[in-house]
Symmetry: C2
Subunit: 228 residues, 2 copies
Amino acid sequence: MITWQNIQTELLRRISERIWLPGELVPKEVELAAEFGCARATVNRAMREMANSGILSRKRKAGTRVAINPVRKATLDIPVIRLDIENRGASYRYLMLSREIIRPPPFIANRLTLGVDNELLHLRAVHFSDNQPFVYEERWVNPAAIPEILNADLSLESANEWLVHHALFTSGDISFSAHNATENEAEVFGIITGTALFVVERLTWLGTIPITSVCLSYAPGFKMHTDL
Amino acid sequence: MITWQNIQTELLRRISERIWLPGELVPKEVELAAEFGCARATVNRAMREMANSGILSRKRKAGTRVAINPVRKATLDIPVIRLDIENRGASYRYLMLSREIIRPPPFIANRLTLGVDNELLHLRAVHFSDNQPFVYEERWVNPAAIPEILNADLSLESANEWLVHHALFTSGDISFSAHNATENEAEVFGIITGTALFVVERLTWLGTIPITSVCLSYAPGFKMHTDL
DNA sequence: TAGTGGTCTAGACCACTAT
DNA sequence: TAGTGGTCTAGACCACTAA
């Protein structure tokens, strides 16, 4: 029996062996289905997934082409920090540094598309891996989106985890960058000010209501890794 | 007509409104198909994609559950650098700094799983965005994988682009990190040594043959961004 | 061993878009 | 307007795995 994976493998072979060149039109679904002796849906599944990974480029009526500039897609897993650490075989510990309900600075209010008058929950915490500081977290939570969090004991369960369990978001964005450690971060990590840190910023929404904005600074030397 | 997107939206609603709680068993495909009055394949498509994004967790015989710790998947586009720059509305310019065929240092040979005796093509280049240095590229190419590259004029077309057009890879890995600018990088970007730079390292393979290892340092302040 | 998801089929209609 | 991919259906068999 021909599976869609079989077809995908064969199509990938034809592309990587340059039997089908970048930009070239490839046979249409019906033709390939005939060639492989399978249903069109099977070919469709194979090619659709290849289009999703950026290897093929498909347009109705125009047909399917080998992508000229394959925009490869790297899929990064964004797990709960505790699991990330435990999966590396290390022990996890969490420490809340501060918790306050205050009006946010303008750039945070702006990022969350809220007025500066709305009071937000502001949290600072450290996640430890084998008792070494691994991630420094600075978070702002919109209580209007999820009032229950004001009663949660976030010194035991991290806000990261609490939110995952109590407030699934519907959309969000994430960005990765580098910055020089502030004095504050240098103290947390026991490093000198200015050391390059890998930073992840995340913003999540429930429908049109902003839930949380978080900035995670990783310990020096951290690499986020994935396969292509 | 019920589409798989309709179903996905409805299932997401039930999860985000906590009608279905994390860890909870959700109705099986046949039941949902009956409820929505559609074919099982349609429900399958909706749930399969949600499982791929980490929202559901599915096991044969055990059924489908709302993921307890949703490992959200962020999909990053890895385009050719020229397109990345042009898509930001900036002009692109490329400058090859050096090209030599030498034996690699041990850590590079090791990363490519090659002996230190194999001579490799070593390239250093800068990609400019609106005439500002945007990415500094340091690359090692294995000529055994793709001998034609030795004859390519890589001062005109970047190795990045040449490889995309002439050597589709079958597998690879990528990692993101931060490091303090070396003197060399500081000079390229016109910044002070030690400035935090966002770094992407990539390694690609054609079957079992290593093709290239590249290290890209982005200009200060660069953020890699995507939606969740 | 039985239940659930994974996939294939053959056919159909629809949506988009190049011409 | 016609051609191509996108999706749905109803039914079938299979693969994996919990019990």
